[in-house]
């Protein structure tokens, strides 16, 4: 398919420019906040000596003019070098790679489960619109949507960890248990149950509502009547004719949400004490750790751009009327 290949390559070229522009913008954004890492470090060390701060600045290169700092940063970025965190005394890339698996295993699992569950529940509710099962799904969905996400997390901890003692409340693994192989995986999975449920519930509510509304709109369309007139069984009408047409708006929102896979879980990571990217970002802001912050921003923008491209591709696969036009 040369057309698809052309489309993807053109979009990738555009994406490179978009990401570079974002990097420049991020750079100024970060520097617009008052204070700098030198001031924070000096403050924490208890030495408010102006000379010491000045020395730190010189060491980090913060005394140079802003455009020169930008030049240095950008020249590193194009070489895929995200810099070095003086604060943590480690390269930013390594820091990110340490934290990424935790965040992704949380957000990706929650995303996939929410999408599948939401579409299934939404379909069920729409096909039984007006019955008690529809009402139940709608009410539960609305509650999950309206309740603050951290509160749900805390309540789940209270119930399943504190009272029932079934599931661990925080962390990614049992420290000092020394599990290996299958046991280690199970242990990690157990630790993920509560955070994934908390994060997933919220998104599932969104997909449920969206799917339900979309199906209610599609199921009265003429081609559904045609399908009925053909004498097809009900499940085939729902899955092939209704759902496939109703899923389009869900894909739009899902693609949008997939872009938040990296940065959207700060609250959950905080509540469940997970060492993920969200927590890293939060700490980096407090410490004015420019390099780490910029690294996270860049990573996030890459993810957003990639998922936008993916969404467009999926769209053109699902809906033949949409052609991939570069």
């Amino acid at each position: 398919m040369p057309r698809i290949a052309l489309f993807i390559s053109q979009r990738l070229v555009k994406a490179v420019f978009v990401i570079l522009a974002i990097a420049v913008f991020n750079f100024f954004l970060v520097h617009a906040a008052p204070g700098d890492p030198a001031a924070v470090m000096a403050g924490e060390a208890g030495a408010a000596d102006a000379k010491f701060v000045e020395q730190l600045r010189q060491q980090f290169g913060l005394d140079r003019p802003l455009y020169e700092q930008l030049g240095t940063y950008m020249s590193k970025v194009v070489q895929a070098d995200l810099g070095y965190s003086y604060r943590q005394q480690r390269p930013v890339f390594d820091l990110l790679m340490d934290r990424l698996p935790v965040t992704l295993s949380l957000t990706l699992t929650a995303f996939v489960l929410a999408l599948l569950g939401g579409v299934a529940l939404g379909t069920l509710a729409a096909m039984r619109a007006g019955t008690w099962s529809d009402t139940a799904i709608t009410v539960v969905g609305l509650t999950a949507y309206a309740t603050p996400i951290f509160w749900i997390g805390l309540m789940l901890i209270l119930l399943f960890s504190v009272n029932l003692g079934w599931l661990p409340a925080f962390g990614t693994e049992s420290i000092g248990a020394g599990y290996t192989g299958w046991d280690a995986f199970l242990d990690r999975a157990k630790h993920l149950v509560l955070p994934v449920t908390t994060l997933g519930l919220f998104y599932m509510a969104v997909y449920t509502r969206l799917t339900r509304a979309s199906i209610l709109e599609v199921r009265d369309m003429d081609f559904v009547k045609t399908a009925r007139a053909k004498g097809l069984p009900e499940w085939r009408i729902v899955s092939v004719h209704i759902l496939r047409n109703a899923i389009l708006p869900v894909i739009t929102v899902a693609g949008f949400q997939a872009g938040h896979l990296i940065g959207g879980s700060i609250l959950i990571e905080t509540v469940f004490a997970l060492p993920g990217i969200g927590r890293l970002a939060f700490e980096a802001v407090l410490q004015r750790d420019y390099q780490v912050l910029l690294g996270i921003f860049l990573l996030t923008s890459v993810v957003v751009v990639v998922f936008n491209l993916l969404t467009d591709l999926i769209y053109s696969l699902v809906d033949p009327r949409i052609e991939v036009a570069p």
């Binding site: 003429d222 009547k225 045609t226 007139a229 053909k230 004498g231 085939r236 009327r321 036009a325």
Partner: protein
């Protein structure tokens, strides 16, 4: 008769949900359909004809229930069958095609797959056999390159082609009964002719029973063997086509036939001595669809060297099929579309050369009435607001404008109190009257009517046409009347311009264009009018003739 009828509907009553305008959708309906017969069911919207078809198919909406009566298919009571057998009947023995070919096909599925589905659930054919059958079916409904077309998505096909696909789908397992619910209403007149011929041809070959629902007596005259006329859920008259068309008994049948638009010869000639109001000179417009910075899109020529003059008090009819560029010209004159080149002279001033502010005063002189009265009125505004907005925008006092609006509502045959109500409280015909009042509020010199009656029932259509005819005499209006229906154009227009593919192929006095068409395309169009062979019986007085008589006596 010894033969069991294909379809035997006895005392069928269908209840409407509470709060509807009447308790029953259809009441005490009894009719039969024999093999090899085309039964036309005629009636206006809301008469229950579609409801009957849906009941036979078992496709009634949930809120609507059959309360008594039975439907027998070759002797078997359909309602007593379990759901499984009913499903086998639908699409297997009884098939249906719908009015809107644009929406009746699943947009995300290849047309071949949509036909294949029927075969999959009603036959035991294997994959290869089904594929061969799909190709054969597509070829049998006259579609070109069936093997290629099989893999197309519906949006690639024209309305006529889609309706052919629908027919192919309906015929997939050779049903005994075909129910056609207004299958040609949304199609152009030439396409309509082809589809009608196709249905007739297939029906004759396979001795199918066809239940054909329509509101168009021209179509009835073209294909019906027997006719059932429905009014408010009851059959008021049923008989052979010959009897019902030529010797209608029931007053409602006579009323429907009287409202059928028809070629009239007695219209007095329009004298061209009067002033030209609007002249279009060599107007060209090309639309570019799709495409990006480097990739060229598709070009659609909607206007190619269009020239046309509308004189004071003259009604010019712009006729042609969909996509011929009729609306583009109309919209260009109102200033909604900017043509690529050419001149549009209104009383000598070239409207296209004017800047936006300079053009504004001319807007009030040229007003437009749109096709769909359901979409063209803002549902959140009162009728009074809708009518007065124009004059108020041109600086008229609000109270004075409202008084004028009320007078206008009376002029178009509505009550003055309509001004306080909202559009949804009115029927389609009444809404179109409101649209006309809105257009007239600015006291225009030229009215552009873009298919103003094609969304309306025949009898309502006749009333609105009558109103337009009356208004133009009273107000000395000039009018550009855009329509795809030649019978309507013949009835209301002095001059006819026939458009094809963005060009005006023939223009002249209505009498000459219809009486002695010069261009081959005009002849094709005239030839495609359904029911040419049928003349309205003498004792049924056409509506327009009646009102013309009234006007002369007044």
């Amino acid at each position: 008769m010894t033969e069991t009828p294909l379809l035997d509907v006895r005392n069928l009553t269908i209840d409407l949900p509470r709060g509807a305008d009447r308790p029953h959708a259809v009441q005490d309906l009894t009719f039969t359909l024999e093999p090899g017969e085309i039964l036309c069911v005629v009636g206006e919207s809301g008469s229950g004809k579609s409801m009957t078809a849906h009941a036979v198919m078992g496709l009634l909406p949930k809120a609507v229930k059959v309360s008594s009566g039975e439907i027998r298919h070759q002797g078997t009571d359909v309602f007593s069958l379990p759901e499984r057998d009913q499903r086998a009947l639908r699409g297997g023995r009884i098939a249906m095609i719908f009015q809107e070919p644009m929406t009746a096909l699943n947009p995300l599925m290849r047309v071949g797959d949509q036909i294949d589905e029927v075969l999959r659930y009603h036959t035991t054919l294997d994959r290869a056999a089904r594929r061969a059958r799909v190709v054969e079916l597509l070829a049998s409904v006259g579609l070109p390159e069936p093997d290629h077309l099989r893999r197309s998505y519906p949006f690639r096909l024209s309305g006529g082609q889609r309706q052919r696909v629908m027919i192919a789908m309906a015929l997939a397992v050779e049903p005994d009964i075909l129910i056609a619910d207004e299958p040609t209403t949304a199609l152009d007149v030439t396409t309509q002719k082809q589809i009608l011929e196709l249905i007739q041809d297939i029906q004759a070959k396979r001795r199918m029973g066809v239940m054909f629902i329509t509101h168009d007596f021209g179509v009835v005259a073209e294909i019906a063997h027997r006719v059932a006329v429905m009014q408010r859920g009851r059959i008021v008259e049923i008989g052979t086509a010959e009897d019902v068309l030529n010797r209608p008994q029931h007053p409602y049948t006579r009323q429907l036939i009287a409202a059928v638009p028809h070629l009239i010869e007695h219209r007095e000639d329009f004298t061209r001595a009067r002033q030209p109001v609007l002249t279009a000179e060599k107007v060209c417009k090309t639309f570019h669809l799709g495409g990006g910075f480097f990739t060229p899109g598709r070009k659609v020529v909607a206007g190619d060297d269009l020239s046309l003059t509308i004189h004071q008090g003259e009604t010019v009819g712009l006729v042609g099929e969909s996509g011929s560029g009729k609306s583009t010209l109309g919209r260009s004159i109102v200033g909604l579309i900017k043509p690529d080149s050419g001149k549009i002279l209104f009383e000598g001033v070239d409207l296209l050369s004017l800047s936006r502010p300079a053009f504004r005063p001319y807007r009030r002189h040229v007003q437009m009435v749109f096709q769909d009265p359901y979409a063209s009125l803002n549902p959140r505004h009162t009728v009074g607001d809708i009518i007065t907005q124009g004059p108020v925008a041109f600086g008229e006092d609000r109270h004075k404008a409202l008084d004028k609006a009320k007078a206008l509502l009376k002029l178009v045959g509505l009550d003055a109190s309509a001004a306080e109500r909202f559009p949804h409280e009115f029927s389609g015909g009444q809404r179109q009257r409101i649209s006309i009042a809105r257009a007239l509020a600015l006291e225009p010199k030229l009215l552009i009517a873009d298919e103003p009656v094609s969304a309306l029932d025949v009898s309502v259509q006749a009333q609105v046409l009558d109103l337009l005819e009356d208004l133009r005499h009273r107000l000395n209006l000039s009018m550009l009347f855009i329509t795809h229906d030649l019978r309507i154009a013949a009835q209301i227009c002095d001059t006819i311009a026939v458009m094809q593919k963005g060009r005006i192929v023939e223009i002249g006095p209505a009498k000459e264009v219809f009486g002695n068409p010069q261009h081959a395309y005009t002849r094709t169009l005239l030839d495609a009018i359904p029911g040419k062979g049928w003349t309205i019986p003498e004792d049924v007085v056409p509506v327009t003739r009646r009102s013309a008589a009234l006007r002369n006596s007044a």
